[in-house]
Symmetry: C2
Amino acid sequence: MPRYMDIHDGFVGVTQEQFEEAHRHDLAIQDEEGVSFDQAWLDPATGRAFCLSTGPWGGGGMRIHERAGHPTEQVYELAVEVS
Amino acid sequence: MPRYMDIHDGFVGVTQEQFEEAHRHDLAIQDEEGVSFDQAWLDPATGRAFCLSTGPWGGGGMRIHERAGHPTEQVYELAVEVS
């Protein structure tokens, strides 16, 4: 299934606890779009967050983020990956 | 040790093989800055790549990327993380 990275801006000063809370809102409804939010990271100094997900299409994760209260339009389909 | 995400632009149409080759150049010299490049992803349609690393400071990874031939100045320190 395709993997996606999305970027959120504007999370300056957000704490670990607040970020986990936001993530929980995604997890609670992700099944409704067949999405799995796998990992997420935040740089609280710049307010930029990164969210790695898998799902049938990129729009599904964006719908979940929007419904969870933190919409973004910056999403990238990761057709190439190394680890 | 701090974790970092860096962004590279301009990799439109880069293949899995080419991306792995670029990554190998990083891995070959990463120890010289005490950096570990852990994962990397690419959206070849937009040319944007994401690179997750750990290291003593963000500049170390950027030095490695520069020496490996793919410099970037877009680096974020990921003080907050969920998985």
